[in-house]
Point group: D3
Chain length 240, copies 6
């Protein structure tokens, strides 16, 4: 099976690292293809960038020239999954929901640790829209921007500090890494904290593989039925 892992920002190095994280956990027969949208911000840290990413991701995925069996949207707390579900017949898994689903299997409550404080409300709203808020103890921010995560040491220290507060003060029993740029930190962080740490891209790969094995895909009965045929100007978004 072939899974398209689509980044939400335009930073190709981040797409490569996300695709690498996906490949590291993929089943033997699973091919992972990283996809970077042509349009959008080099990091998504707010509503403007997230709404733009939704359109850019839909455009990139629907114009991708090869066949694929599932899509993973690799942004944490970003918009747009619902549009992809309408446009495609194959399963679409968002890394936010994927991480939350697995975290809920592992403990009584989970916390997400993310980047800037301003993205906390977006993540909370996305979890609520996914119906996954009930066991979320907190969403905590490190104060680091998405691209600052590339300084791995500083990132690890900041993430560890917030994760520890989530465990000690918010009573989280599981930690979710709340940014595509944190892929790869889960195992080490888990050892350090003594609680399970779930990384969303990896979680999404296993969920997508599971759905495909079971022959399951998006319901087309109502909310995610294919768009009605109509005139859509400027679509797909022109790449200049």
């Amino acid at each position: 099976m072939r899974i398209l892992v689509v980044n939400v920002n335009t930073t190709e190095s981040m797409t490569r690292s996300i695709a690498g994280a996906a490949r590291a956990v993929a089943a033997p027969g699973t091919e992972i293809i990283g996809l970077t949208p042509a349009i959008g911000a080099d990091s998504v840290e707010g509503n403007f960038e997230s709404h733009l990413a939704a359109a850019a991701v839909m455009s990139a995925v629907t114009t991708y020239p090869e066949p694929f069996d599932a899509v993973i949207q690799a942004g944490f707390g970003e918009h747009g999954k619902e549009g992809l579900m309408e446009l495609l017949d194959v399963p679409v898994v968002d890394m936010t929901e994927a991480a939350a689903h697995l975290a809920m299997l592992l403990g009584r409550s989970f916390s997400a640790v993310t980047t800037l404080d301003r993205t906390v409300p977006l993540i909370e709203e996305r979890l609520a829209a996914f119906g996954l808020s009930a066991h979320c103890a907190s969403v905590r921010s490190t104060g680091l921007g998405v691209l600052e995560l590339e300084d791995a040491d500083a990132a690890r220290r900041a993430i560890t500090a917030q994760a520890r507060l989530a465990v000690d003060e918010d009573r989280a029993e599981v930690i979710v890494l709340g940014c595509g740029g944190m892929a790869g930190l889960d195992a080490e962080l888990g050892r350090e904290l003594g609680v399970p740490v779930v990384e969303g891209v990896a979680a999404a790969v296993k969920l997508a593989e599971g759905l495909l094995t079971l022959g399951l895909s998006t319901s087309k009965s109502r909310t995610y039925a294919a768009p009605r045929p109509k005139e859509v100007r400027g679509w797909p978004l022109p790449v200049i």
Copy 2:
């Protein structure tokens, strides 16, 4: 004061009718400017079109060449208001929330009557995201597409029928018209049903004027702070 009323679809005749509804209730000193996005579907009836509209509306508003004092987003249940709030310093009012706010002042519960059944979940999610679900009795659909509303008689009949069911079965005490294309039907429908009928564009005009008179605008303290300066490819969206 000058209020930009931005349509979410690309049908100019609908923009004109929406702007007309806004003008009909505007205070003497208020200038209403209708704006049609250059990109997007000719009607917005689902997630794909709504996410695309979010990007198209942000692009249209931020490239509008004249100054303005407030923006009204004239789509019912559509995405994107949060991005506009980040991008602008002036108040942004969505017609969905505007209608719900006024409806809540008038009765114990309200129902929205909208177009296609498939848009019901979007509207419910937007009301939830706005924090305005608690007194919403139901969202009901007429089964008509947005552009079918142009047949005014059929539209009125279908809307009246669903509104009556909302009052009789769902215990709605106030009806909200759930589509920009329904502007102008409120007064007549209210007389026929015997309950208040709130139309969102008109509601949004009065709320925007109220905020401006009170000198209030979007909080820039956290969620809706201006986007951080960064490289954004393909932005604003190119108009071809």
Copy 3:
């Protein structure tokens, strides 16, 4: 249009200041009339006084000898609006709900800053009854009694301190002034805090004007239908 602004306590100087705050934001054609109930406490700071105020306000408004087009109930978190809605055909706007409605348009969450700690649960319950709790970050008290607000400097300091805590600790993005006696402090406090500050009387004036312009009034279909004709002893309350 003529708007009756009814105080909930019997302190006439507070009625004057509330009416002044209303007049300061009223549209050119709006006449503001302040009304003080003949019965009740000189400040309302708890359930006994609030329930008594509900009866006293209903009695004062229904015996007011001149015609009017709307009523504003100028107490924060007090009972009785629902009774007025039954008794009257014109719109009734409570300053608590008015402030919350406008605050929700301006940011992701709001906090109210009020007087005594004991009134916090009342305010929380009224917001819940209005269906306006979902985006309320907190209700905070200054510890000052209603009448202690007349020492403007101390009041401003205490309110500013709690508002800052609401922003910093509770993540409020908008502040609501939670007492009729705080009218007039909003603009200055907003400048100091850097977030929008909404004062309920002013908010209520703009909402009442908006409803009147749109020709909207209370639904009479169920909850707020006129009381059935029946024997009511001691009503209106005798003024001795």
Copy 4:
């Protein structure tokens, strides 16, 4: 122990019947005293009458000349219990909450059957304010006015019909009689329906006795602390 059972309307025959229902279940040492407010409507069927009843009940109870050990407020879904809790040092039990508390011990969900449809939202709001909504399956109305309950046959038929619908359609496992005027119907209705039927006055007597035996009374720590000393005009309400 001596329990004051205060009616919310001014119909003395109803007070007598309520007090009789209380006496029928009281423990040997319990004295029941019926109290009718001097002010208010002869039946309470809406917000105006309920808010007036709140003030009238507080006035009647605080001017009652003899000592008592507990108060039962015998109106279903009416306002005012919170004010009594502030004014008194003895326990106050509302018949609405009493019925719901016992019903929750007896089955997975309960429905209340009440009089006019217009009172349904009041009852729902009071249950919510008491924190007792979670297991409430529905509040159903018979369409009968409070005083029409005196035709016992018609009342029984109408109540039975709605109770059966509550069991069959709303999945109620316990029925709560939602009006002081329904006292005495519980046993027969229970036999007929085959599910437990809880009558609120009787429930309140057992809860009040239980609290007194355990030496428990209202917490005076915050919400229900005694009112601050202040000038209250026209209080207690003059009886003319």
Copy 5:
């Protein structure tokens, strides 16, 4: 009337102390019988022990050789009440729900103070399942194990400290003692804290007596209907 008070653990001295607490508040005609399950842990402090207690309690109660009129399950936050309700025709009252019901009559919010931190989520879940979470301010743990409560001085100090935090920080107005082993501490703790303290076994006795006086028992209409006749291996649990 005869009430079986069944402990959830196998420590007979605790059964005696629980039965003593029940007897201390029972009405003159009430006989209290303490029952210790033959199977299970000597203290219940987690899910494994609680699930085992559910089976052991059902087995002990259904094989108890004498008739009884009601059952009290004397564990705080433990599983199994629903099974007993199915198996029996007499009322079943759990001490957790009993304490919460009475606490809700006495103040705006309550906190439970329990033993080990790990039992907090169980208690929260049981309160939620009983529909009694809405007014629960917090569940706080002392860090003491169930059997460490036998050192009365240390227990009292730890419970008092947490109860004080519940009042000061969580705004609890009533305290609930969250362990069968705390029976007897309520009166003294109430005096020390200045807020009502509710002990669940005593509360359950008064509720059970109240239900019996009113002739009320578990609804057999759906959830708690008697089990269908079927083959059940190893039941009742063999006592070796």
Copy 6:
């Protein structure tokens, strides 16, 4: 990897069929072992049987003589998963939660179709305890007992009828099969209904495999820490 699939009832033929359903979707390297508890009812259709199953399942799993890598609890809406999580270091997946997690990835809302009406509240409570209620449209019963499902034709007809009602009336977009005895019906039912149908045992296998691949297991930090060492009488349950 080796996954223990533990039935909740004592019917061995059902264990075989459940294990078969698990094997049908297991990855190449996964070994499935079916386990039948020695104690309990031949079908679990209520609280008594479910609580007994919880103890019996814990006893069966902890005395299973061979090593295993994960456990699947194959009862729909039954108690006990939390106890297993405490007792084991390997992941535990309940078929109820597994089905709900996958269903939530596939559509806006799901309905479960189960056996007897009396089990509906149990399932609703378990979904709530798992934090998975928000997108559950309904739980519907066929009226068939668990063992009546062995008449495959009647079962299929009854399940299809309720599933269709769930789609048409409750707006479910995905159907969950709510009983271990329904394993194997999902593919055919999905074709007939035109919406995805999720079977819980299959879902649980893919989730357990996913967790194992990612090296994730139950958090031992608080709720699911290993039981404290203590005296537990009659444990494990004696098999006679």
